[in-house]
């Protein structure tokens, strides 16, 4: 029965032809010590930081432009209108509201009631 402790020998046996070739070693060293590749490698390695810096720059630029626009625009003045207050006069004697023309609401009501009564009397006749 194969044991897990044999794993190393199994893998070594299976990957016997996976070795560092002189070409691979040379290419790697060349990539490490070539300045042109170094720039690209730095970009690849720090792309996240660069993205963050770029985002902050864009944000700062947007806020700056916004502030600049606000300072050149004429100041807006907010005109507040007086709230409308309905005025109502009350007849102190009868305690009923009085119209603007001076007539008491109850006067009209009483007048209407009189007309109604007269009509009923006429009908009975």
């Amino acid at each position: 029965m194969i044991d897990l402790t044999d794993l190393k020998s199994i893998i070594d046996e299976e990957l016997a032809d996976i070795n560092v070739t002189p070409t691979l070693k040379f290419t790697t060293l060349e990539k490490i010590f070539t300045p042109k590749y170094n720039i690209w490698s730095n970009l690849k390695q720090h792309w996240m930081r660069l993205t963050t810096v770029f985002s902050i720059l864009v944000l700062a630029l947007t806020l700056g432009l916004n502030a600049l626009n606000n300072s050149t625009e004429p100041e807006q003045v907010l005109i507040k209108s007086e709230p409308y207050i309905m005025q109502l006069r009350i007849d102190k004697v009868t305690n009923t509201p009085i119209h603007d023309d001076g007539a008491n609401v109850n006067d009209n009501f009483e007048q209407n009631e009189e007309i109604k009564d007269n009509t009923e009397e006429n009908l009975n006749k």
């Binding site: 029965m1 194969i2 897990l4 402790t5 044999d6 794993l7 190393k8 199994i10 893998i11 046996e13 299976e14 990957l15 996976i18 070795n19 560092v20 691979l24 070693k25 290419t27 790697t28 060293l29 990539k31 490490i32 010590f33 490698s41 730095n42 390695q45």
Partner: protein
Amino acid sequence: MESIEKEIERLIQDYGNDVLRIAYMYLKDRHLAEDAFQEVFIRVYHKWNTFRKESSEKTWIMKIAINVCKDMLKSYWHRNVSFYEFEDIYKISNSTNDVEIEMEKKSLLESVLRLPDKYKDVILLYYYQGFSVQEIAQILDTTVGNVTSLLSRARKLLKESLEVIE
């Protein structure tokens, strides 16, 4: 400059094969493994000055190697382009007469490679690279207790998997 070049050459000489093979175990493709190998030693070169020698060189390089492999596996291109068969990674030697042993070896390797990443990490680092539990904890940025429990669960999973195959 010359001294660091010699240092990198020495590191490639000492740990190159381990890096290439572990990359091959993860990426299952020779060309990708070679790309990972190059990326590992480029990162080693860039981070060499920050290496505080709190762990061994091998532990530090393996940590970089595993991170590079995982980054490559996570990349959009790798997730969407699959051009290899899993079976490509192993081969049965025709020179061996004992077919049964070869089949057992094949099953074991296949089961290890089919393990979920977190279990595969600990099994390969412990049984293949020969790291201690403490070193594995350093490599994987986790606790010793977690590594022990992962190892135990990985062994259990492997046992179950091999029983099913048998």
